[in-house]
Amino acid sequence: MAQVVNTPTRRQYAPASVRDPLHGNSDKLLNCFKQLPAELNPLWLKVLRASALHKFISQGFPTVKDEEWRFTNVAPILELALHTPEQPARKLTEADLKQFSFGDLDTRRIVFVDGHFAPELSNAAGNGVDVMSMRNALNSPWVERHLARHASFEHNAFAALNTALFHDGVFVSVPAHRVLERPIHILHVVTEPQSGAIFQPRNLIVAGDGASAKVIEHYVSLGNGAAEPYLTNAVTELVLGEEALIEHIKFQVESEKAFHVATLQAHQAKGSVWTSHSISTGARLARNTIQTVLGDKGCNCIMNGLYLGRGDQLVDHHTVMDHAKPHCESHEYYHGILSDRSRGVFNGKIFVRKDAQKTNAKQTNRNLLLSDDAVIDTKPQLEIFADDVKCTHGATIGQLDAKSLFYLQARGIPKAMARRMLIYAFASEVIERISLPQIREELDKVLLERFAK
C-alpha cells in the first residue's frame, strides 16, 4: 500500500480541529468502515477502502491552503453532523420523477433515492448491456479490474472518502461494438435530507472497443424539499476502450442548500472519443473535478461546460487533460454566468507528457459577470514536456456587451429581454454542443427561468 506522505508545499497541515475529517468523529468514521456489510466489502475492495480511509483520516478535508482548493473553502461542510442515512427519507413514485425527465427522450433510467437504489423506478438493464446497481456488481471482474484504479485518491480527499465508504452507485458495461441508441439516465434524487446527510454515489462506466453510448449523470433535489444542508460526494470512473465513443452529460441542479463535490475520471484507449458536458446550476457549493488521460494515439476529448451562479453560490471546475501519448486532440470550452455575489472557479490543466508529440490542445474559459459583486477566479495551467505540440488557451471575463445591448434596444426590444437574449446567446454556444435536443430544450428552460426577470 502506498505510504501516506504529505508534501508540505502542496498540502499543509491544518489545525487539528479542521484536519479531523468528521469534526471530532473519526471514531465514527472508523465505525462506518467496520460496519460495512460483507457484500460491500469483497477482499480486493477492502484493501482499497482501507488504504483510502487511511489517506483520508491522515489528511482530512482540504483547506484553502491547498493549492487545488485555494478558492473553494469546504469548512462549512465540516460544521455539519455528517452521517449516511440508512434509508430514503421518502418513497418516490413514477409521478415524482416526471419533472426530472427530458421531454420525450426515451432513456434507460437507473434511479437512486437518497443514495439508495430504487429498482422499482429503474428500467435500465436489458439487451446484453449491464446498467446495474454497483452494490450488485462488486463481484464483476470488470469492476474489480477498474474500480478505484483510475480515480486516484492520493491527492483527492473526497475521492478517498468516497472510496472508503461508498455503498452504491451505478455500474455500466457496454459490450464491444455495441451502439446504444437510448441514453443511460443515472438519476440521483435527494428528497428531504436531515442536516448533514451525506450521499456518496460511486459509478463505473466501461465501454468496450468500438462501443458507443450516451450517459446522463443527473443530480437533483426534490422540489424545494431539500431545505437542510447535505453533501453529495460522487465519484465516477469512465473507461473507454479502443475507438469507443462516449458522450457524458453531467447535470447538477441540486438544492441551493446542498454541497456537491464530484470527481469524474476518464481513461481513454486508442482512438476513443469522449465528450464531457458539465452543466452546473445548483448547490451552494459545487466542486467538479473532471479529468481524462488520453492514453493512446488518436484519442479525442471535448470538455464542454456551463456554470451558473447566483445568490451566494460557489461553482468550481477543476479539469485535467492529460495528454500521455502522441497524436491526440483536446478541446475545452467552459462558459460561466455569475450574478449577485456568486463566485466561479475555473482551473484547467493541460499536461502534455514527453511522449505526446503532435498534441493539439485548445482551452477557452469565458465568463459573464452580471453583477459587481460576482467573482471569477480562472486559471489555465499548461505543463508541456513535448516540443512538437499545439496548445492554446484563453480566458475572458466581461459584462454584457453594451453595444449589442443598445443595438437590440434600438430595434424596440426591451432592455430586460435584450439582456436575456445576450445571456442566452452566451450560454447557447455551450448548449449547442450537446447532441440530444431534449436536453438542450431543458437547458433553455433553466436559462429562461433563471434570467426571466
Partner: protein, 251 residues
C-alpha cells in the same frame, strides 16, 4: 414630427453638439452633411438614446412628446429607427429570432397583434426582395460574418420590416459600391410615405442623387452652420466644405 431646440450633448464630459437646432416635418427628407468628427453620429446616437451620450441642455420633441424621456426601446417602438454607421455583430443571437422579437415588440406598443412565425416569414419574404439580400443570411446570428455591404443592406432591410416613422440613416452609403448604393437607395425610396420622414446623414452627395432630400444641412463643430435645398449638396460636392466653414467662422 421632430423638433430639436438648442441641443447640447456630449460624452465623458466632452461637449460635441453645441446648440443644435433642427425641425423635421412629416414627409420630409433632411440630409445632414459635414466633415468627419463634426458630430453627425453623435446626433444620431442622441436621438436613438444611446446611454453614454449625455444631453446637457436643450429639448427634443417628437410628435409632441419629450423624446429624451424615453428609453431607447420606447423610441424604437414609437417609430424611430437608426440605421447604424457600424452595425454590431451579435454572436449567438439568431437574425430571424431577433427581428421577429423586435417587430412584435413594436407591434405590441402600437396595440397591434403579434405575428406568428408564418405571418412573420411572409413579411420577411416580401421585404427581403426590396434589398436583394440573400435570405440565408437570416439564419445566421445578427450581422455575424456579413460583409460590410451586407450589414448596411441588412440595416435597411430591418427598417423595411419595422416601418418606422422617422428613419435616421447614418452614413448608410459609405463602403457601398454603386450597385449596392442603388439597391439601398431604391429600398429607402420605395419605403417613403407621405407621413414618414428621414434624416439622411452622409458624407457624399452621390446618395442624394437617389434619395432626393427636401433640405440639406451642414453640420460642423456640433452646430448646423448652413441649410438649403438639394442644390446645396451639389455645391458642397463641387466646392468642398471649406467655404461654408469659413463663411460661418468655424474655420
Amino acid at each position: 414630427m421632430l423638433e430639436i431646440r438648442n441641443l447640447c450633448a456630449g460624452v465623458d464630459g466632452k461637449e460635441i453638439l453645441k446648440n443644435l437646432n433642427l425641425t423635421v416635418k412629416p414627409g420630409e427628407v433632411h440630409a445632414v452633411m459635414g466633415p468627419n468628427g463634426s458630430g453627425k453620429s453623435t446626433l444620431a446616437s442622441v436621438l436613438a438614446g444611446k446611454p453614454e451620450f449625455e444631453v446637457t441642455s436643450g429639448t427634443v420633441t417628437y410628435n409632441g412628446h419629450d423624446l429624451l424621456e424615453l428609453a431607447p426601446e420606447e423610441r424604437a417602438q414609437q417609430g424611430i429607427f437608426l440605421a447604424f454607421q457600424y452595425p454590431v455583430e451579435i454572436p449567438g443571437v439568431n437574425s430571424t429570432y431577433f427581428l421577429k422579437a423586435a417587430l412584435n415588440e413594436c407591434r405590441k406598443a402600437k396595440g397591434q397583434p403579434e405575428l406568428d412565425a408564418v405571418e412573420f416569414l411572409a413579411v420577411v419574404k416580401q421585404k427581403i426582395k426590396l434589398l436583394d439580400l440573400d435570405p440565408s443570411l437570416l439564419n445566421r446570428p445578427v450581422n455575424e460574418g456579413f460583409s460590410g455591404g451586407e450589414k448596411k443592406r441588412n440595416e435597411i432591410f430591418q427598417m423595411a420590416v419595422l416601418e418606422p416613422k422617422l428613419a435616421i440613416l447614418d452614413e448608410t452609403d459609405s463602403g457601398l459600391d454603386i450597385d449596392a448604393l442603388k439597391i439601398v437607395a431604391g429600398g429607402v425610396t420605395k419605403l417613403r410615405r407621405p407621413d414618414n420622414s428621414a434624416i439622411v446623414i452622409t458624407h457624399y452627395q452621390r446618395l442624394l442623387n437617389y434619395i432626393v432630400p427636401d433640405y440639406v444641412h451642414v453640420l460642423a463643430d456640433g452646430q448646423i452652420i448652413k441649410s438649403g435645398g438639394k442644390e446645396l449638396a451639389f455645391e458642397l460636392e463641387e466646392r468642398g466644405y471649406d467655404w461654408v466653414l469659413e463663411g460661418a467662422g468655424v474655420k
